[in-house]
């Protein structure tokens, strides 16, 4: 009898220990850091953005940690260079998933890299929050429950760009210069569809490769085709090359670029050639909104320079993650992913909530560069 009760007691203790460890798994433990990985481009195409991405994410992490963390647990931000390259991004993501055991991954930021790696996060059931904007991986196309987008996608931005061209500029003969990455070519597809709604077709489309430094031939053909507006769908350094040669070759039509044309990385390189360029932007630091001003001041105080798109979306994304973890009451990645679908947060980009396409916001601006600042013409919330 005594032996029976002794054995039963041992079994009960063992069951309690096993059950307790299962229950404790994923609970927020203030003594353990919450690991999050940031995959961003610091070299290669897109390297122009890596410092801004890290700046926004690190600022949010430091603010959260210094005000108590996430229910006492501090974020640990691990940063990797994905070189804006799908294969390097895959290595980074695998490392994040299986070595660092991150509860969430921020980035990659380049659409081509996201397309290559988002299924890894899906298989590992780890949420991936990206600033990449291509429509190629909208939720309705990839059905990835673990992939979330932190800023307006190109479908929204390019639609606004086309709307401005057709309704305000009243242009009828657009020409485009387009980069070769998915970011650029998928934007072109969206632009074509958006123009069709106005009964307008591109009369000339010229391609350029990332790294091209001479587009004389492309500008020549655009000029000769008689365009009445130049639609720019390239990355930042290429935008600078294009505008310098547009000014050189006296192509005097309005130039309306999409998001990569509306950042300091473009205007710094283009210099005076950027004056007068109109762009659809995901972020404008001159926005008088108090949340934007607070973020800009904090970023400048910490890093010494103004933030640029997409710094704001990674800043917002870290705070979104914090809220999702608090809602889930756990660092279990499946529970975090579920919480990310429901969490609401008002950040630098305004009210943010996950929609059917797994986008958190559609905020964008139409602005014009005056040689010093981007003057906001309109803001879409």
């Amino acid at each position: 009898m005594i032996r029976f009760f002794r054995n039963a007691f041992i079994v009960l203790v063992l069951l309690a220990l096993i059950g307790g460890s299962i229950w404790a798994q994923g609970k927020i433990d203030p003594s353990k850091p919450i690991k999050i990985v940031l995959s961003a481009p610091f070299t290669g195409t897109g390297s122009i953005l890596g410092d801004y991405i890290k700046g926004g994410a690190q600022l949010a992490v430091d603010e959260i940690n210094s005000s108590g963390g996430v229910e006492g647990a501090k974020f640990q931000l691990i940063v990797y260079d994905d070189q804006a390259n799908a294969s390097t991004a895959a290595t980074v993501v695998r490392r994040a998933l299986y070595e660092d055991k991150a509860v969430a991954i921020f980035g990659p930021n380049m659409s081509a890299a996201v397309i290559g790696v988002h299924t890894l996060a899906q298989q590992a059931k780890i949420p991936m929050l990206v600033g990449a904007t291509s429509v190629s991986f909208r939720y309705d196309k990839v059905k990835n429950d673990y992939l979330f987008r932190l800023r307006a996608d190109d479908g929204v931005k390019v639609a606004q760009q086309v709307k401005y061209i057709a309704e305000v500029l009243k242009a009828k003969k657009p020409g485009a210069i387009v980069g070769s990455t998915d970011y650029c070519t998928s934007a072109l597809d969206v632009a074509k569809q958006a123009f069709e709604k106005y009964g307008i077709k591109f009369i000339d489309i010229e391609m350029m490769k990332e790294g091209d430094k001479d587009v004389t031939a492309q500008i020549t053909k655009l000029k000769n085709s008689g365009i009445d507006v130049l639609v720019g769908l390239t990355h930042e350094p290429e935008a600078a090359v294009v505008m310098k040669q547009v000014r050189q070759m006296k192509l005097t039509v309005p130039a309306v670029g999409f998001s990569a044309w509306g950042v300091p990385a473009f205007t710094d390189l283009a210099g005076d050639a950027a004056i007068g360029v109109i762009s659809v932007q995901g972020f404008n630091p001159t926005d008088p909104d108090p949340a934007v001003k607070k973020f800009v001041d904090a970023y400048k105080a910490k890093w010494g320079n103004e933030p640029s798109d997409p710094a704001q979306c990674y800043y917002d994304g870290i705070y979104l993650l914090k809220k999702a973890i608090e809602m889930a009451g756990s660092t279990d990645s499946v529970k975090i992913a579920e919480a990310l679908k429901k969490v609401e947060y008002t950040g630098v980009q305004g009210p943010m909530k996950c929609d059917d396409l797994h986008n958190y916001t559609n905020v964008c601006y139409i602005s014009q560069f005056d040689g010093k600042d981007w003057k906001i013409i309109s803001k879409l919330q």
Binding site: P41, F42, T43, G44, S47, I48, G50, D51, S180, E206, M207, M208, K209, G211, D212, K213, D214, V215, T216, A217, Q218, T220, K221, N224, P237, A240, V241, K244, R247, Q248, M249, K250, A265, D268, L269, A270, G271, D272, A273
Partner: protein
Amino acid sequence: MVLNDFLQNIIGGVTVGSTYGLIGLGVVFLWQSINRINFANISSAMLTAYLFYSFYTQLHFNFFFSFITSIAIIAIYGLLLRYLVFEPISRHGGDKLEFVVATLMLCTLWLSVIKVLYGGLPKPFPPVFGESTKFVQIGPISIPSVYFWIFFVVVLLIFALFLFLRKSIIGKMLRATAQNREASLLMGINVNMTTSLAFMLSTTIVGIAGILLAPIYFVSLELGGGSIGVKGFASAVMGGLIDPFGAILGGIAIGLVENFSTLFISSAYKDIISFIILVVVLIWKPRGIFNWTAKGD
């Protein structure tokens, strides 16, 4: 297509192509001197551009001081390349392959060093050759002021090199060493001195090309790798790796092919067409299409 467009594209192609040729010159000098290909050749362009940016934009020295100091440093770098890379490899029995591997690693090292020191963002080159919106109008053709500087410096450099190599004693010694090292030694030529000179000239010329290219390529990591290094190498190959002036012409040919293939076909195929032509040229004229010294090809 009107004549203006044709001329505009010729100007663009010749300008950018002549800078590829300068990079190819760096390859030729070293090949001629030590029979080795320096795969970190293009790093000299990047390093010089960043040095100039540091002196001029960050430390606010004047143009001449910044230029001369940057070039002097890169010339010393050429000397260090000889004594810290080439000589140790040779002493330990290494040959061409080991030098190739070492310089490939060096190229990667410099990209990483620059990234750590300056970050990955391209920096705008200061407008020392004129503002980006400053052009010279010749009839219907508008030429950026920087293109004039590139033309001027390339022509000056070629003329100076011609005089140096053909008319000066040291230049003749350099050419003699390149043609036959052992015979040069027997003739009492200071081969040690000419080898050092070849290394220094190689990095200096590419360094000057870097400063000329930076207004177009920006002060960026791109100056230290990628297609520009390959095009420089291709320019050298078009000159048969022998004739420095062949390398310049090779570079101009590549620049023109790039521009006109974009104009008449598509920019998407620009690099494909350029390198197909290079391969065809190599098959047809393996000693280089602009190698005037080769006979009977």
